[in-house]
Amino acid sequence: MSQKKRTSSQKSQAPSNRLSQVARNEAVDSDEEDVSLTEPSTSQVQQSLARLTVAQVDRKMAEVLQFILIKDQKKMPIKRADIVKHVLKEYKTIYSEILKRVDRTLGQVFGMKLVEIDTKNHTYVLINKLEPVELNITDMHTGSSKTGLLFVILAVIFMKGGIVKESIIWNMLKKLKVKCGEKHDDFGDVKKLITEEFVRQRYLEYARVPHTDPIEYEFRWGLRAEKELSKMKLLELVSEIVKNWCQLYAVGVFGGSCRNKTPAHGRPSGKKQNKQSLVPGVVLSDAFVFFTLCYPEYSCLSLRYILFL
């Protein structure tokens, strides 16, 4: 009985089956790029468009858009070849037209934009056109502590002039109780996270330093970070941290009330409630550590005792 009911929806299941296959084949896609994909002329595009019904074109556009949104959930860059191969197929001549419409819809409805980060391989990322804003309503979804970590790393790289040796990042993270090779409660395998996942998502670049023995690596901002993060905003955040830090310093010098309340070792768990989290997962004391790494000349001050590090 239900068998009969299910077959009627079988036809419409086809696109989604394709989509589920697609998501799993990410890794192998690039090898099968369609080399014959040359840019069709405008007249060819127009001819192809004329042969298709409005409904067909709209449907394709919707499928491409869903495909892009799904791929973006994992923050993986989207390759043009994948779109053509898995979604557009025989409609590939009108690729440019479809993409134009998709971009328009993304902007008008979702407030997002497709940005090409690699013009040679035609790879795109979805970036948010809306400014990041503290909403405080929706629950902190699991991605947010990773974002905090990423943010701290990006900030350090920025403050250090755009390139940072791997060892410096690990030293900094060690002070935040995030250790290389150790499994972290929130982040899991941190090394994998920052050298693989963040790199794959194009937030960071992890490159070998030439002529080093033993091999050393350095970190840079990735293409997605360049596009998504305003450096101005980052500077503003850093100056906020400094401002707050100065206030705490004043407390420390003129009335050490902070010191008496907390135990001598480790970070008291109640602390996160008092200190306003500037970035998810990053509490002020962490920010202080990051600050001293950027400005080591200040690290000799005994403020470390005040912030219990």
Partner: protein
């Protein structure tokens, strides 16, 4: 002429996309906040209209922000769902084919059961029958954990049921395939419910609907056949003040046949 979306609409939609599902009070706060941030005109109590404005351009994309009731607390929730078909398109990115198959089997098992629940043992046994690719019990346990984490299933005391998000998303499918699993009171699909013991009646009611209908009645009787209602009447949730919105009429019938009902 559909109204053009503003930044406040887009912001709201982005948050919905991140959460997947949100209760009505949070939605209202979000709506207010979005209007404030983007200096749009905020009209209280017009959340439905606001959501409909977003739904209009979403429709060609087979997406929809739909309202539904939680079977646990009777609260209203908004969820972003796929209209494309009853297949779980959005899940496709996180779950492999055999994992999706397991979920499908678990969902059917739950819908087939009387009480809308499946024990972890039941589901692990189902893992053995997965055809796309063999699945070990250990892997199945992991999949179950992820399904709960991503709010597709909910777990209580080792028993699994469909989450509110799942029910809202799969509502057309459940209506189509399980035509009689409908609550007599609110006419929404009923996965976990109390059922009238009269074999000639057999109507179902959600737990929160039971609480509401029998509030203050020392001797509850079935609203359909008037037989004594033998089940324990759950406590009414304080915030359950209004009747949940009746569901939109689906393509299949709404009437639950009350007599000699063949359950699938």
């Amino acid at each position: 002429m559909p109204k053009d979306l503003t930044e406040s609409h887009r912001r709201f939609l982005q948050e919905m996309m991140k959460c997947g599902i949100m209760d009505v009070s949070k939605c209202n706060s979000l709506y207010k906040k979005c209007c404030e941030i983007h200096k749009a005109n905020y009209v209280p109590d017009k959340l439905d209209d606001f959501v409909n404005e977003i739904n209009t351009p979403l429709q060609p994309m087979f997406m929809h922000i739909r309202c539904g009731m939680s079977e646990e607390d009777g609260q209203q929730y908004y969820a972003l769902v796929n209209l494309a078909d009853t297949e779980i398109t959005r899940m496709a990115t996180d779950y492999s084919d055999n994992e999706l198959e397991l979920f499908r089997k678990a969902m059917d098992f739950i819908l087939d059961s009387d009480n809308g629940l499946a024990s972890s043992t039941d589901i692990l046994n189902l893992a053995d029958t997965v055809q796309t690719k063999k699945m070990k019990k250990k892997d199945a346990e992991q999949v179950l954990q992820r399904l709960v984490q991503n709010k597709w299933l909910c777990e209580k005391n080792g028993e699994y049921s469909l989450s509110t998000r799942c029910i809202i998303e799969m509502e057309p499918y459940i209506r189509n395939v399980y035509q009689d699993s409908v609550c007599n009171i609110c006419h929404n699909v009923a996965v976990q419910s109390q059922m009238c013991e009269n074999p000639l009646c057999g109507i179902r009611m959600h737990f929160p609907c039971v609480a509401r209908v029998f509030r203050g009645q020392p001797e509850p009787h079935c609203p359909a056949c008037k037989d004594f209602w033998p089940h324990e009447i759950p406590e009414l949730n304080i915030s359950q003040s209004q009747l949940p919105a009746p569901s939109q009429p689906g393509p299949s019938n709404e009437k639950a046949s009350r007599y000699g009902r063949p359950r699938r």
